[in-house]
């Protein structure tokens, strides 16, 4: 494997050097020279206007993957309640399956599952594989991965997706390592290359400064985790069950509430006794009070250095409350101990994608932008008209937040009463 610069076309323009994150390119006597720091990320190839750079010598195998069909979604649940990202992935999975003209499978593991899972069938799923057993009561990666691997080996999906939650980001790497296939973390967009019928997995890297599109070569399934709240939930009317799997269907046992979905359900066979866990879960406590899960909210109102001190966060809280949202913060505010770490948005805090993100007194350091720039609507309130936050905002107000925010709260409250 080698990366080469064609010196007959290289002009020494240094575009490639400017995009290289690894200090791997030098311009010597008017030509680009790539040194040993190179990690083959390909950024320079994309930047070069003269197509002078190429990576050669990658062994490309042309294996036959025709046995692999369908899109399978791991549907995460906690205490029998389906995580939102499950519905988001089913919606995305349906689109991919339609393009590939193939089936959408869900796979759901849990214990004492009940009507709460009914929503799954609103997303055009062709078949839901279920395992309902005490061994799946807690989300433990070793028992879950064992059954997922069995399912992947048996049903051979071409694409396998899971949520990039704390659990998914531990479970899916384990599954991929067992199956020996690639896994792309934290995707924000998925599409199909319709010439090759392969999955294009796009994800932010370098804290969201760059997007990289990644493919899975020489192994199947093509696996990806997808960030929660990035894909849209889109229920679909009942679809025809995919022809290829229609007749290949066994129901092992039933509960009454499964009846109406029975043509779309299959209970998985497994040897219960062979599932042993290395984890002893001693306790679980729900997070309460101060610590919150920012990603649960559609509206986040964040405060930064411009807030000036811990007491002024009450103003931010009041605006968040008026909009039914939650308080976020920049690293500067958290590091000053004005507010606790679970509120921190950004590269070393939470990555969020709410419908509305209101940044108050946040200049917009690139690490902060990395954590919130995929929000649907961004509103920035800042004194400094040159603050970088305005570069990514949809709506901006240059002004003193202590003049703006109280007026806005008042206006929202009065507006609601009309």
């Amino acid at each position: 494997m080698e990366i080469k610069v064609d010196h007959s076309t290289c002009t020494g323009c240094s575009l490639c050097r400017n995009v290289c994150m690894y200090d791997a390119i030098e311009i010597i006597e008017g030509k680009a020279i790539i040194n040993e720091n190179c990690v083959f990320c390909g950024a320079c190839i994309d930047a070069c206007k003269f197509k002078s750079i190429e990576i050669t010598g990658i062994a490309q195998t042309h294996e036959d993957f025709s046995a692999y069909n369908g899109v399978m979604v791991f549907i995460e649940q906690h205490d029998g309640i389906i995580a939102d990202v499950g519905y988001e992935l089913l919606s995305e999975g349906r689109k991919l399956a339609d393009i590939l003209k193939t089936a959408l499978y869900g796979i759901l593991l849990g214990h004492n599952l009940n009507e709460n899972i009914g929503g799954i069938f609103d997303y055009g799923i062709d078949r839901l594989y279920i395992a309902d057993n005490e061994i799946f009561k807690n989300n433990l990666d070793d028992v879950y991965s064992k059954l997922l691997v069995q399912a992947i080996n048996k049903y051979k999906p071409d694409i396998f997706l899971g949520g990039a939650t704390s659990f998914g980001r531990t479970l899916l790497p384990k599954v991929a390592a067992i199956i020996k296939t690639g896994l792309t973390a934290d995707c924000t967009s998925l599409s199909i290359d319709e010439d090759k019928n392969i999955l294009l997995q796009t994800r932010p890297t370098f804290g969201g400064n760059i997007l990289a599109t990644i493919i899975t070569r020489n192994a199947r399934p093509q696996m990806a985790t997808v960030r929660p709240h990035v894909m849209e939930k889109c229920p679909v009317a009942k679809t025809e069950i995919n022809e290829q799997i229609k007749n290949n269907h066994e129901i092992k046992k039933e509960k009454d509430f499964y009846k109406k979905y029975e043509d779309r359900i299959e209970f998985m066979d497994f040897d219960e006794g062979s599932f042993k866990t290395k984890y002893k879960l001693l306790s679980q406590e729900k997070e309460t009070g101060q610590s919150i899960n920012l990603t649960d909210y559609d509206v986040i109102v964040s405060g930064g250095r411009g807030i000036g001190g811990p007491d002024n966060f009450s103003l931010i809280k009041e605006l968040a409350d008026a909009l039914g949202g939650v308080v976020g913060a920049s690293r500067a505010a958290v590091d000053s101990n004005w507010i606790s770490y679970p509120h921190q948005v950004g590269q070393t805090g939470k990555t969020v994608n709410p419908k509305i993100y209101i940044a108050c007194g946040i200049s917009g350091a690139i690490q902060h932008l990395a954590g919130m720039q995929t929000s649907d609507i961004i509103i920035a309130i800042n004194k400094d008209p040159d603050a970088p936050i305005f570069k990514i905002a949809n709506y901006g107000i240059v002004g003193d937040l202590f003049e703006i925010v109280p007026r806005l709260i008042k206006r929202i409250k009065s507006g609601k009463n009309i």
Binding site: M1, V39, D46, P173, A185, R217, E403
Partner: protein
């Protein structure tokens, strides 16, 4: 403890993103300077490794019986980061460096680390930062743990108890704290909430300067070159681009009252209220 208790901390040298700016005209990245840093979360991993050692020492173990090793895969200049790890309290460091390691995805990285870890006759705990600043995946830890057949707990927020056979680890999942007991050897990944990393001591800095750092290549790891680096990767980057912003910012004009009124109108328009 009579035999060695070894804590291996896997770290990565990453470009410091503070150095990165976006050129607003071309929407491309501009790097100023060439600063590289220890991946920020990895400083917490090193600190936690050193604290585990200190815990054992405080309960009567000899410091000589507990070893904190910093391990990285990277280009030759990653050695400077390993010296920093030693100044922060690691006892020694090993650099995995070979041209054939370049371009590795998380799978190939985990496999290379596995080969290296297998070279130590014994290991008890492996610690990772929860994700890197550049790749951001957090996948190498769980993949490596699987390859070694040991349990892995991601996003650990504290090690409640530890002895030479097992440990109790608390971690924050989305909406809940979970406390697990796991037998050693085991692997964890840590975030910012687990500790506050110390600053290097003068003694540590001196030791860092003089310490010999071995470099292991693919042949020393007994690794097939086709399994390392880009050749050994299942995933491949096919395109890199900068995010495009499709909209222009709409600035609210006038004094505070007018600005608020206009914004309120926008919020109504998009059905927030």
């Amino acid at each position: 403890m009579s035999e060695i208790f070894r804590i291996i901390v896997c770290i990565k040298q990453v470009p410091g993103t503070t150095e990165i700016k976006i050129n607003p005209e071309t929407n491309t990245l501009v790097r100023e300077g060439v600063e590289t840093i220890i991946n920020p979360f990895d400083s917490y991993a090193i600190e936690e490794g050193v604290r585990i050692k200190e815990r054992f020492v405080s309960t009567g173990s000899s410091a000589d019986d507990i070893e904190v090793v910093a391990l990285t895969m990277g280009p030759p200049q990653a050695e400077s980061m390993l010296r920093e790890a030693i100044s922060l309290g690691a006892d020694r460091a090993v650099l995995l460096s070979d041209r054939v390691f370049a371009g590795a995805d998380t799978w190939a990285t985990a496999l290379t680390l596995k080969h290296a870890i297998k070279k130590f006759e014994k290991y008890n705990i492996i610690i990772f930062g929860k994700q890197t600043l550049d790749g951001d995946t957090g996948q190498v830890g769980p993949e490596l743990a699987h390859m070694l057949h040991i349990p892995f707990i991601g996003y650990a927020s504290s090690i409640e108890e530890i002895d030479n056979r097992k440990m109790t680890v608390k971690r924050l999942a989305e909406d809940r704290y979970e406390t697990f007991e796991i037998r050693l050897p085991a692997a964890i990944s840590v975030g910012k909430d687990i500790n506050v990393p110390r600053v290097p001591s003068l003694r540590g800095k001196l030791r860092a300067k003089n310490e010999k750092i071995p470099v292991w290549s693919a042949s020393e790891l007994d690794m097939d070159e086709n399994h390392a680096g880009l050749s050994g990767s299942y995933t491949q980057v096919i395109k890199i681009f900068t995010p495009k912003h499709l909209y222009e910012v709409k600035m609210m004009e006038g004094g505070p009252d007018e600005q608020v009124e206009e914004l309120f109108g926008k919020l109504k328009e998009i059905n927030v209220l």
